[in-house]
Symmetry: none
């Protein structure tokens, strides 16, 4: 089964060319290419869009213009409409994440689209009604008006993520080798010996608790073998030479 | 336990006032208020930011300007840096979602921040090194340069969403207080000074890389203020007394 393509991004009566360009850039950042403009205020193409697209020229070049929302969505099989307001409408309201998962889960022949209203007015009730579901981006109810390009980027980002099984965290270093517990234990024994010699672990009745704290500290992070070599070198250098070698020679 | 506040958003060498305004708007959309500017190109305040903020005036009014990243992050207890590129650095790379969950799971006294590089150049390697972890926004590798306001909106959106979920894991320290970046920086400067004096940072041409490795190592784990005191004590004891005090007396 071929996966469903990214949804069409449909801007209804967009005003500033710069915003259209930023939308194109956000689409390209997250693998989208199908931009549709319904009755753009300043016509199309719009030179103000180009610098804001920052290289997403293909999205602008392939953008299509329609006179009405009905024309723009005629070939789609699923339609979402973004809205900040909860309206008196019997219509499912979903999160961007839910919409993304639903679009990703659709069969390959499905073609989804997402409607975005103009900067000022948003979508009309009639336009909202044409959608299968409303998408509400969760945000601060006291300041809920999102810039159109920022609403698009959140939808596109969620769609992109829904296609990935991203691990929560990746420790990056290509060639790094995790330190073994033996490596780490060797360092900790060395450190404790040198701290004993330097007089740090006093008074003696507190030494066991001090050692526990030090172990906790160094065992909290993942260590690589290079880290352990560095730590051993640090302790050796400080313990043997301390402030005595500031002239730069071996004593 | 009071929840951790939203992270500080730290823009490093931002260029266009309009982008700063859009960042402020995105922050207000998702409940953020702590905007910090490091060496903004056109000074501050910047009139171009106001219309782009679309009413998020409070965020702009309360924005603070710093000369360096170190100054801007000194009071923070956890620091993330956004980056598009995966660099050769032993540093955890996390997703925005993971970072948001980690920030939400931190104790109430914790203060997190997220660094964003300038429009053109991004963050320097030295700036990335100051962070506990890198945040990489998953996107199309063929078109991975995000507008700064759009990178901010994704981070802020994920933080907002994470507040509606239960944190997966919480580091437990009931009475422990997270170390500030200023505390940690103080320790690292002390360590570097003592290593310089002991002759560890040789040959001189390798010293910068050695210092970077050491910083990466100590910034990888969450540190508490007690840890920093312990580390400072360890370095002081080894550097001053080394193996000389095995008789248990001051020399």
């Amino acid at each position: 089964v071929s996966p469903a393509p990214p949804p069409a991004i449909i801007l209804v009566r967009p005003q500033l060319g710069e915003n259209i360009g930023k939308v194109a850039r956000a689409m390209a950042n997250f693998g989208h290419g199908d931009l549709r403009l319904v009755a753009p205020r300043d016509g199309w193409p719009n030179p103000a869009a180009v610098p804001a697209a920052a290289g997403a020229d293909r999205v602008l070049d392939e953008a299509r213009v329609f006179a009405t929302v009905a024309d723009a969505v005629a070939d789609l099989t699923a339609l979402y409409a973004t809205t900040a307001r909860t309206r008196d409408m019997i219509k499912p309201v979903v999160t961007p994440r839910h919409a993304a998962e639903a679009m990703r889960g659709a069969p390959g022949a499905a073609r989804a689209g997402v409607l975005f209203g103009a900067e000022a007015a948003g979508l009309s009730n009639d336009e909202l009604i044409t959608a299968d579901a409303l998408v509400a981006i969760p945000c601060d109810p006291g300041f809920s008006s999102l810039n159109i390009a920022q609403a698009v980027v959140i939808i596109a980002y969620e769609w992109f993520l829904a296609g990935q099984l991203t691990p929560a965290t990746v420790l990056d270093p290509r060639s790094a080798v995790a330190a073994t517990r033996g490596d780490i234990e060797g360092f900790l024994v060395q450190l404790e010996e040198e701290l004993e010699l330097s007089g740090f672990l006093r008074p003696v009745e507190k030494a066991p608790a001090m050692k526990r704290n030090i172990r906790n500290l160094f065992l909290r992070a993942p260590l690589f073998d290079q880290d352990v070599r560095t730590l051993r070198g640090i302790v050796r250098s400080l313990a043997l030479f301390g402030r005595s070698r500031s002239d730069g020679r071996e004593r």
